[in-house]
Amino acid sequence: MMSTEGYGVYLVIALMALVMLFTRFGGVFITGLLPLRPRVMSFIDAMSGSVLVAVLVPIAVEADMAGRLGMLATAGVMLLTARPMAGVSLGILVTALIRFGGMS
């Protein structure tokens, strides 16, 4: 436990900021220590897109029906136009409309 009285609170925030800085810088720094063999580069390449997928999975799992239909709308727009902002906007709109209509 740590007190947030007086200057304590600033110390807590500073420590959090340091942890965040470590996560932002750490990936590049640690990778810099690895030998850049083709296999390492290939690992990074396959890993990079996988981050997106791994972030996405629990969101899709936890989403209600309105949210899932919203994501479906995003996917539809992406297939047709490949424009991310249009896809995201329609996805949010669909989700909101369905929730507004009380259908989920």
């Binding site: 436990m1 740590m2 007190s3 009285e5 609170v9 600033y10 807590v12 925030i13 500073a14 959090m16 942890v19 965040m20 800085l21 470590f22 996560t23 932002r24 810088f25 750490g26 990936g27 590049v28 640690i30 990778t31 810099g32 083709p38 296999r39 580069m41 290939s42 690992f43 990074i44 390449d45 396959a46 890993m47 990079s48 897109g49 996988s50 981050v51 997928v53 791994a54 996405l56 999975v57 629990p58 969101i59 899709a60 799992v61 949210g67 919203g70 994501m71 995003t74 996917a75 727009v77 992406m78 991310p84 902002m85 995201v88 996805g91 949010i92 709109l93 669909v94 989700t95 929730r99």
Partner: protein, 235 residues
């Protein structure tokens, strides 16, 4: 894999990146607003809330920390939560390494200060498609950071705003955005295999492993495909 050359980063690139990410940043503004309002109910003073938004700049972490905040703070659990939720940033940084390593050290790390989900995802797509500049990472990061501050401040000052971000679908912003980023790039069998493995591993970790481990587990599982299936450079 196309040849990797040092990315460019001019003032004009940064400005373009700023405007490019600004639309999605508006959602971040609304999240910031919700955070500011939630922070009012917590034991944090307004100055402390702003200081946290400015220096920590991590939405999910800041929401999680509100619940742990009191006259006494469990410092170790709090820092471990911060680390766990944002461990994905380590992987995001690593994924940009093949390009960032070609920059001078100072520039390399300076461009990572506002690393965040949206500017990372767009930058990675750009770089992989051979659009070789970091304007979206830096300029977009500035847009996201600014909107997060503006949102937090507005929430603190107004004290009310969007009562329930869920009702207008805001909880799905991240999901829809990540999905659009997954679908924007080129696909091939190797990539699809990596992503499928990542999805399965992330799901399993989400169900059965400690909270906030799913991104690391999923991404590393996807990465193993790269270890066994080498991408050969294009001629």
């Amino acid at each position: 894999m196309p040849d990797i050359v040092a990315p460019q980063l001019t003032g004009a690139d940064i400005r373009r990146g700023f405007w490019r990410i600004l639309p999605i940043s508006l959602f971040v503004f609304v999240f910031g607003l919700a955070f500011g309002v939630a922070a009012l109910q917590s034991n944090m003073a307004n100055v402390e809330v702003m200081l946290m938004s400015i220096t920590v700049f991590a939405g999910t972490v800041q929401f999680a920390v509100l619940d742990m905040w009191g006259a006494q703070v469990p410092i170790l659990p709090l820092l471990l939560t911060t680390l766990a939720i944002n461990s994905r940033m380590l992987l995001m940084g690593a994924s940009l390494y093949p390009w960032l390593r070609l920059l001078p050290v100072r520039r390399r790390y300076a461009s990572l200060i506002t690393l965040s989900d949206a500017n990372w995802a767009m930058t990675l797509n750009d770089l992989q498609q051979g659009r070789n500049n970091l304007g979206t990472l830096v300029g977009g990061g500035i847009a996201l950071w600014t909107c997060w501050q503006a949102g937090t401040l507005t929430g603190l000052l107004l004290g009310s705003g969007i009562k329930d971000p869920k009702s207008i679908g805001l909880d799905m912003v991240m999901g829809c955005f990540m999905l659009s980023m997954v679908m924007v790039g080129k696909r091939n069998l190797r990539k699809s295999l990596a992503w499928g493995l990542s999805a399965i591993a992330a799901y399993a970790a989400y169900r059965w492993l400690p909270p906030n481990t799913h991104v690391i587990v999923g991404a590393l599982a996807g990465g193993t495909v790269g270890i066994f299936w080498l991408e050969t450079p294009k001629q």
